[in-house]
Structures are given as C-alpha cells and as structure tokens.
C-alpha cells in the first residue's frame, strides 16, 4: 500500500509540475467539453478525432489527453441534453429526461449546475476508486461471464417496470429491444429485418436512434403549438451556479453515493458494457428505490444528479479493464487502448509495476481531468445557456438547429443518408407514440440494453448447450437475481404496508 501511495504522489507531482502535461490536460478538457456540448459529436467521436494529434506526445501525456477529452465530453453532453433534449453523447440519455423538464420549467441554470457538480463528483469518486483499487481489483472483472452479465441486464430490465404507463411502457421498451435486433446477427451473421437495404446490415446506430427518440419527436411536439414562448430570463447568484445547497446535497447524497457512484463505477469496470448502460441502470435503480418514483422524469434534481454521477464514475471505471487487462470497457477506451499500443505499451497488470510511472500518471491524470473540466465548464455553460434562452424564445430557430444537428449528426455516423431517414422514421414513431401517452424513455433504454441482453442470453445458452439452468448456476448470478427480486419486492411491500398504515390511522 505504501508503495502504491508513493507512486500516486509521484505521479501527481509529475503532472502538475510539467507544463506540457498541464497544458494538454486543460486543452483536451476544453475541446472535450465543447465537443460533448455540441449535438452530433459524441464522446467517442472526439476521442477518436484527437487520437492522431496525440501520437507525437509522450505516452503518459497522450493518454491523459484522450482520457481528459473523453471525461469532459461525457459531462459536456449533458449541456445539450438539458437545454435541447438532445443528448450530446449517448451517456447523457437519461439526463435529457429530467434535465429538459427543468429547462422547460425555467430552471436550466439549476439543471446545468447539477449536471456539472455531479459529473465532477461522479468522476472524482470513480477516479479515486480506480486510482486506489485498479491494481488490486483487476482480476475481479474477469469473473463476470455471460450468465452473470445477463443477470445484470435482467436486473436493469426489471427496473423498467417502474415507468408509468403500464402496458404502454412495456410495449415501448419491447420496441426498443426489437429495434436493436435489426441488422446482422452478431453470432451467425444472418441479416435480420433489413429488407434488402445493405447498410442496415450494421443495424441502427445508437446516436441515430437517440436523436430520433429525443430530438426529432420533441421538435415535432414543439411545432404543434404556438411558435413563440415567453421565457423568463433566469437569474442566479454565483454560488447557485457553482454548488448545490447543503439541504439539496444531503437530499441527493443517498442515491448518489449509495447507488449512482458505486453502480456506475462497477458497470464501467465490467468489460464491454460502458458508461451509457451505467447511467441507465443507475437511473432505473435509484428510481426504483425512490420514495416517489412517479416524480422521476418530471424534472427532479435526482434525475440529473444520478445519471451524471453514474456515467462519469463509469467513464473512470472503464479504465480498469483497459489498463490492467487490455480489455476495453467501451468504445472510447478501445481508442485509449489503441493509443497505448501505438506508443508501444502493452496493457496488463505489469503497467502498474514495471511501467509504474505511466500507469499511475494516467490514473492521477484521470482524476485531475475532472477538476479541470469542473473549472472550465462555466465558460461553456454560459455560452449554451444564453443560446438556449434565445432558442426557446424563438421556436423556429430551435427547430432549425435541432434538425441541423440531427441531419449532420446522423449522417456523419456512417456517411449515409439512410441514417438520416432512420432518425426521422424513429422520431416520427416516437412522436406518434408520445401523443398517445406511450413513454418513449423505455424505448431508448431498450435499445441500449437490447444488444447486451441478446448477446449474453445467447452466449450463455451456447456455452451450456441450451441448458437454461446456466443462468442461475453461478453464485454471482444467484446473488444478482436475489438482489433484483428483493429490490422489486421490498419497496412494493413497504409502500403497501405504509398505505395500509395510513388508511388505518
């Protein structure tokens, strides 16, 4: 442990006393923030775009740049999610639900403060866990096989039941799951439901689906009504835009520290899952354990704080399998892994022994990147806040801006017009369904969880030659299923007992 702390201290001093490291950290964080806040440029895209520019840097600095850009973009995506209901990155999908409702209620500054503070907190907590536990916990990640991962997905799916709308929420979620099956079958390569359109062989892209569900449907809904809204200019004291009040912090502490941060980090830590799933699972879980789940999605602070904490904690957690095992936790960390290899570093547990300076510098740099984006964020927030106010006052301009970013954001995924058309079709379906009170969030969640659910479902059965007992054979999956059952039963029983008690009294 002493050796570990000395390495952390040395890495910290190495970063803050080296102007190149600090300069790159600040620049990459700012670029990540701007890119994340711009709809259509995802956290993965900006990490990939920055990769060629980092080749000439020393390995430590290059990785710090990529990780800082990624972490800042994960936060930056919440800005457009809150202001325009367009998740800047897929990780901000859940933030768009409550964040945008707060904006509609004239509290966009408050929502942006929450997303900024809790992104920072999530990143910091996740970064610290990563920093202290990576060398110790690396082997745990490989204990999660397909059946254990399927159990985790089942847990997330079971929490979808908390969405209001009854059968409509179920249909919406199933539609999301089904959309994810379109394209080439991951196991056999058979094309499913492509109807001869070759480019659909790759399936619908997550960005295109999210733009359709959240952005296009919202624009169509806005255009139904009058084109000018009276927007009250928001005024805040400096402190209100920097930190939550003590009461609010204490109110948000249980879901943030007991659910969002640990769940987010754990899901990020598992190879191949990623920060988007972390935000979804944490949101659903926190909603499940909330005393008033019906308020989630209507613009409550928890709805912004929980997913933002989880996705940033996950962004830090994804570094563990990447550095210690050479298994990327998600698409962005796959790029980081590529950068490591470009610099001649072969990832593995030895990164923390034989190349300790590199390993620890990357981890400390990751933690510091959260501090840097927290300090830089007000500039971006101010710019986008004023833009958001102007656009909400002038709906035609807002419509044009959203359509512009949807068209370009969908096109640049695969340089294909089909993606623009797919975004539009999904947007129109979401719009029609939302007119008939179908909640559309479960559809987006279904699309995120769908590929994971199918992959682990089939892989588990393939390994067990079709024996369904494989799903409950390992102690980890048994624990997850029992925890899920308890998570469903206990709050329901508690509510019923409380209602009965209230009626009696």
């Amino acid at each position: 442990m002493e050796y570990h702390l000395i390495n952390i201290y040395q890495a910290f001093i190495y970063i803050i006393t080296n102007p190149l490291n600090m300069g790159v950290l600040i620049l990459a964080s700012f670029i990540g923030l701007l890119a994340g806040a711009t709809p259509g440029i995802t956290s993965v895209a900006i990490t990939a775009i920055l990769l060629p520019f980092t080749i000439w840097l020393p390995p430590e600095t290059a990785i710090i740049a990529l990780v800082a850009a990624y972490a800042s973009a994960v936060y930056g995506g919440s800005v457009s999610a809150v202001l325009f209901r367009i998740p800047g990155s897929t990780e901000n999908i859940m933030t768009a639900l409550d964040g945008y409702e707060l904006t509609k209620a004239g509290r966009s500054g408050f929502a942006l403060m929450l997303s900024r503070f809790y992104s920072f907190l999530g990143g910091l907590v996740g970064g610290l866990i990563t920093l202290f536990l990576t060398p110790i916990l690396a082997d745990v990640a490989v204990m999660f096989g397909p059946s254990e991962m399927f159990a985790l997905v089942v847990m997330a799916i079971s929490f979808l039941a908390t969405f209001e709308g009854g059968v409509k929420a179920v249909i919406s979620a199933l539609l999301g799951f089904f959309l994810a099956t379109i394209g080439s079958d991951p196991v056999t390569g058979v094309y499913r439901f492509t109807f001869g359109v070759t480019i659909l062989g790759g399936g619908f892209d997550l960005v295109a689906v999210l733009l359709g569900i959240f952005a296009i449907s919202e624009v169509l809904r806005l255009l139904e009504s009058e084109l000018r809204f009276e927007v009250v200019k928001e005024r805040y004291k400096f402190r209100e835009l920097m930190f939550p009040s003590k009461e609010l912090f204490l109110r948000l502490a249980p879901p943030v520290f007991l659910i969002a941060a640990p769940i987010g980090w754990l899901i990020g830590f598992l190879p191949g899952v990623g920060a988007t799933t972390a935000a979804v699972v944490a949101y659903l879980m926190a909603r499940r354990f909330s005393k008033s789940p019906e308020k989630w999605g209507t613009g409550i602070p928890e709805g912004v704080a929980v997913p933002e904490t989880a996705n940033n904690a996950a962004a830090m957690g994804t570094l563990v399998p990447t550095l210690a095992l050479g298994i990327p936790g998600g698409a962005a960390t796959a790029i980081v892994l590529g950068a490591l290899m470009i610099h001649g570093v072969i990832p593995g547990a030895w990164v923390f022994t034989y190349r300790a300076q590199l390993g620890y510098t990357v981890l400390v740099g990751t933690v510091l990147s959260n501090v840097v984006f927290y300090l830089l964020a007000p500039v971006v927030i101010y710019m986008f806040l004023r833009l958001g106010e102007f656009l909400r006052r002038n709906i035609p301009f807002l419509a044009v801006m959203v359509i512009f970013f949807c068209v370009f954001g969908a096109y640049v995924i695969r340089n294909s017009v089909i993606d623009i058309i797919a975004t539009l079709i999904i947007g129109v379906i979401a719009y029609v369904l939302s007119r008939y009170k179908f909640p559309t969030a479960p559809m987006a969640i279904g699309f995120v969880l769908g590929p994971l659910a199918e992959k682990y479902f089939r892989r588990s059965l393939d390994i067990a030659f079709g024996n369904p007992l494989v799903f409950i054979s390992s102690p980890i999956s048994q624990f997850i299923y029992i925890a899920t059952a308890l998570a469903i039963v206990v709050p329901t029983l508690y509510t019923r007992l409380k209602t009965r008690k209230d009626v009696k009294s």
Binding site: F178, T188, R192, F397, V400, I403, L424, G466
Partner: protein, 161 residues
C-alpha cells in the same frame, strides 16, 4: 376515440408480420440459439401486450384522447417531416453546403421568419457545417455532383481543405 386503438392495432399487425419474417430466418444446424429466437420472443411480447391493451380498452371503454392537433400545428409537423426528407434526399446530390444554404431559409420562411433573417440564418448554419465538420474535425461531408461539387470544393478550398 379510435386513435389509440388504431395505434395498438398498427403495432399488432406490424409485429405479426415481423414475427412471420423472423420465423422465416434460416435455422443453422450448428447454432444452439438461432438468430430468430430473441426477436421472436420480443415480438410475441409486443403482440400479447397489444392484444391485452385493445381488449382492456374495448371492455372498459377506457380510451385516451390526445390533445387536439390544430390545422396550423398539423401543417407545421408535416412540413417539418417533408423538409427533413428533402434535406436527406438532396444532401448527397447538391452537397451539404448548398443544401443547407438553400433549404434552411425556405423552411424558416415557411415558419414566417423574415426573408433577410432566414437567409442570414441559412448562411450561418451552412458556415457552421463547413467549419465544424470538414475544416476543424476533418469529417468528410458530401460535396454534391457536377457544378455543386465544384462550388463546394471551391468554398472548402478557401479554408484550406
């Protein structure tokens, strides 16, 4: 009143058709769980949910009526859908710059924005697309064909691309 039932029935019919398509997928001998299993489970779930929803609403006479969509609102919604379709269709043929420059002012004019403002906004968005994607982020976008290609290439050349 029947709008909600129509939505459920549309979902029911399309899911049934897709289930039929799923069951037609090739069954490979060496694969334990074929490509049709997972989508079939989901589609059967949708079909059962839709049938139960229709029956429940028919028996209880409990329908949801969405807020009425005025004529102006309906026209705006349909025009926006058409605008995106046209944008997508001409995007590759006349290039990203010209299509943005032409279509955004037309759309804004339809939404009753003054001509000059529409033209300025169209120009701003065309420049934003130009500077953000091909110039700063080096993401290639379609330049169109023929004269449109030459024009877009010339404009990109002004920015060193």
């Amino acid at each position: 009143m029947y709008g909600e039932i129509i939505v459920f029935l549309s979902l029911l019919i399309s899911s049934s058709y897709l289930l039929y398509e799923a069951l037609k997928l090739p069954k490979l001998p060496f694969v334990v769980i074929g490509p049709e299993v997972w989508p079939s489970i989901l589609l059967i779930g949708i079909i059962i949910s839709c049938i139960s929803a229709v029956v429940y609403r028919y028996v209880r006479k409990n329908y949801y009526r969405p807020p009425k969509l005025g004529r102006g609102g309906l026209i705006r919604v349909l025009t926006t859908i058409m605008f995106i379709v046209i944008y997508a269709l001409v995007f590759e043929y006349i290039g990203f710059f010209i299509s943005t420059l032409l279509l955004i002012p037309i759309y804004l004019k339809f939404l009753r924005i003054r001509t000059l403002t529409s033209l300025v906004v169209g120009f701003i968005f065309a420049m934003l697309a130009l500077l953000l994607f091909p110039v700063f982020l080096l993401i290639p976008l379609p330049r169109g064909y023929g004269v449109f290609y030459d024009l877009t290439t010339y404009i990109l050349g002004l920015f060193g691309r």
